[in-house]
């Protein structure tokens, strides 16, 4: 071992690494964790700070920290300060499962907010079900979750598709070509869009109302495809009045660019279920996406006093006056605040009491408008805004709708009548 310096260095390095691994890994006597203060209550957050999903994860973390800091600054909840325990799930699904168990078993949190992609939610939902722990999923998603221990504070297809279909039928035409991301969000959203489009914006057909039809076969595009050449040719062949995009991820943003490059911007109208949630309207040029219509809950252009204050506070916390306050930030903020309202209403952190409070139909005012909890579905009534991309990387608000129900979930899920459900429904 001492024969050469290299060998000695190697040994030392190995020993050091092993020891370091042991110290950081195993909880040990040498590192006494600070005792749980009596006036603190632990709450958990599972988000992707690093990895492929950190585009959504980082703003979500900002929203989380802002919400928790604000609650603590106002004196906490029920006289106790919230101790935020955050784990970076590193865009790794197995880590979601692992950290979820850690939050429940070791940190013993009273609530967890987390999950970005639907896959992460579906990975940890069984963990919360198994240990009967409270879980909030705060993202827009494909709808259908019906779980007694879970609250989804994000929008569902009933909310972001219904009014959109109506508007498109009125202003653009009946023939629609749909492209969707080839994973669960895309597939399930397509099924809902199929229903809403053919029924003119409602979940069931309404006689006398204009209804749409599909042209061409719906196209599913794998997440890593960046070349939309063939797709654009097929669209031109089908000659639709409007294109519906249910695409997701960084690679898919190029669809709009390539469509415009083929000279089709302005010739075919585009509507989308989720355009803007990744700040695409900022990153793409107006010549590529002006006029695209969405139905969204939060838009940073919303000119209300609540939103102005919110944006000021966020940019101040982040320390960057040009910080883009997007949907992810507001969703998390809303999610934490409606949980906080439920805790105050219940007077307790206990899961069953909080669940009862949520099911009593509480409402809060948020930067995007009023949101109200829907007892039967464990989702929310939302204030939705129909908006079109303008020529300044922003939005023109066309119309606002209040108290839009999660009609898709409501069709299948009633947790008051049948409470013992832990599933995700999909449209017939």
């Amino acid at each position: 071992m001492m024969r050469n310096r290299r060998g000695f260095l190697k040994l030392t390095a190995s020993a050091a690494l092993t020891t370091a691994g042991g110290i950081t890994g195993f909880p040990n006597i040498l590192r006494i964790r600070s005792a749980q203060a009596a006036n603190e209550v632990p709450v958990g957050s599972l988000l992707d700070r690093t990895g492929a999903f950190n585009i959504s994860g980082q703003p979500a973390i900002v929203g989380t920290q802002f919400a928790v800091n604000q609650i603590n600054a106002k004196g906490g909840l029920l006289g106790k300060q919230l101790k935020l325990i955050e784990y970076d799930t590193q865009s790794d699904i197995a880590k979601y499962t692992q950290y979820a168990k850690k939050l429940i078993l070791e940190d013993e949190v009273v609530v967890t907010h987390g999950g970005i992609a639907s896959a992460s939610r579906e990975a940890i939902r069984p963990v919360f079900d198994e240990y009967k722990a409270l879980y909030y999923y705060d993202n827009l998603y494909e709808g259908g979750v019906c779980d007694k221990y879970v609250f989804c504070t994000g929008q569902t297809p009933g909310q972001y598709m219904g009014r959109l279909a109506e508007y498109a039928l009125q202003h653009f035409g009946k023939k629609c070509y749909t492209i969707a991301a080839d994973y669960n969000f895309g597939h399930i959203s397509w099924k809902w869009w199929d229903i809403y489009w053919r029924n003119g914006g409602d979940i069931s057909p309404v006689p006398g109302k204009p209804h749409g039809e599909h042209v061409g076969q719906v196209e599913f595009i794998p997440l890593d495809v960046t070349d939309f050449n063939a797709t654009i040719q097929r669209i031109q062949q089908a000659k639709p009045d409007v294109i519906m995009t249910l695409i997701a991820g960084a690679a898919h943003m190029n669809f709009y660019r390539q469509l415009a490059a083929a000279g089709l911007h302005g010739k075919i109208n585009i509507v989308s279920a989720n355009f803007g949630s990744g700040n695409e309207h900022i990153l793409l040029a107006p010549s590529e996406v002006e006029g695209l219509v969405v139905c969204a809950a939060y838009l940073d252009d919303l000119d209300t006093p609540a939103n102005r204050t919110f944006k000021e506070a966020i940019t101040k916390m982040v320390g960057d006056p040009k910080y883009l306050v997007g949907e992810q930030v507001c969703q998390k903020y809303n999610g934490w605040n409606i949980w906080a309202k439920a805790v105050e209403t219940a007077g307790s952190f206990d899961r069953e009491a909080v669940t009862k409070a949520m099911e009593s139909g509480i409402a809060i005012d948020t930067p995007l408008g009023r949101i109200k909890s829907d007892a039967a579905t464990h989702h929310l009534f939302y204030t939705m805004h129909l908006a079109a991309v303008n020529d300044k990387h922003g939005w023109n608000i066309l119309q606002t709708y209040e108290d839009v129900p999660p009609s898709d979930d409501a069709k299948y899920c009633d947790l008051i009548k049948k409470p013992d459900q832990h599933t995700q429904y999909q449209p017939d």
Partner: protein, 311 residues
């Protein structure tokens, strides 16, 4: 019957697919095809090129073509630095090179994310579109093919018509002999590696208006790049061009035309449950991979494997 304009469009799609493969693979053909260095960080040099162009155009206000030249230079310089710091110690240890370059790729992704943030950025298109029959096609894709041909020409001229090229080929072919003849082999390796990285940077820059500029964009391309180079075989230029053309044709054709349909059990609306084999980008990619694997089974040395004199 297939209409006339469809034939033209499919032809253009084939050209586009082949062009993209050439762009992705050219730098790797130099580094891996010629120098036998398995550079798993190749994708990240594409990313470096794309981000340099983005920074030059967005923050520097430079025109696109200048940004692309700058991208090639920056990527080449970083390549040279990496060669000196890491690769140099690992010649003759191919597995270790693979692992080290994988580590470099992780560090590069992390660094780029730290510098630019995780958000997708975009570059505006420089050119417009033209019409063929019922379809419209982007001019930029034609421009890309021109640039790819130009890059291949530059590589050819550099390696076969200049003194540097002769020395480089000599060094790669027989380093000891080259050293005995007075060629500075260390410098040759360094410069050749740098050239390969510069080509990758230029490719990333050319592709950047077409695709989203994200720190993780390199990962999407590395498999395609390696497959093209491996299928190409020892002859760097000819092999890459041939492989890119062949694989690009397969990919574009399968992506455009569905082959057949499989009906499966299950309840679907609105149509009965069918899985279409072909006719989508996914199957284009699968076809490319399957075809490449089968080809390698038949020709383990690649398309140009039969040639006795690779240089």
């Amino acid at each position: 019957m297939i209409a006339g304009d469809t034939i033209v469009i499919v032809g253009l799609e084939i050209l586009s697919a082949a062009t993209i493969l050439v762009l992705l693979a050219l730098g790797l053909a130099v580094v891996f095809g010629m120098m036998r260095i398995i550079n798993l960080a190749h994708g990240e040099f594409l990313t470096i090129g794309a981000f340099t162009t983005l920074a030059a155009v967005r923050f520097g206000g430079l025109p696109l073509w200048l940004g692309m030249l700058l991208a090639a230079c920056v990527a080449g310089l970083i390549g040279i630095a990496i060669e000196r710091l890491v690769i140099r110690h690992l010649y003759g240890r191919p597995l270790d090179v693979m692992l080290a370059t994988w580590g470099i790729s992780l560090i590069l992704i992390g660094t780029i994310t730290v510098m630019f943030g995780p958000v997708t950025n975009g570059l505006p298109y420089a050119l417009g579109s033209f019409t063929i029959g019922r379809y419209q096609y982007s001019q930029y894709r034609i421009a890309m093919t021109v640039v790819a041909l130009l890059m291949m020409l530059i590589v050819y001229v550099l390696f076969h018509r200049t003194r540097f090229g002769r020395q480089a080929r000599a060094t790669i072919g027989n380093p000891e002999m080259a050293a005995a003849l007075g060629i500075n082999t260390q410098r040759m390796f360094m410069l050749t590696f740098g050239l390969g990285c510069a080509l990758a940077g230029a490719a990333g820059a050319v592709l950047s208006p077409l695709v989203g500029v994200v720190p993780t964009m390199g990962i999407l391309y590395i498999a395609q790049a390696f497959i093209t180079v491996i299928v190409g075989g020892p002859l760097a230029l000819v092999g890459t061009a041939a492989a890119a053309s062949l694989l690009g044709t397969i990919e574009a054709l399968i992506a455009h035309f569905p082959l057949f349909h499989i009906a499966t059990a299950g309840s679907c609306t609105p149509t009965p449950c069918v899985i279409a084999i072909g006719g989508s980008a996914f199957f284009g990619q699968i076809a490319l991979l399957v075809f490449a694997v089968v080809l390698l089974r038949l020709l383990p040395q690649g398309l140009t494997g039969g040639s006795r004199n690779p240089y």
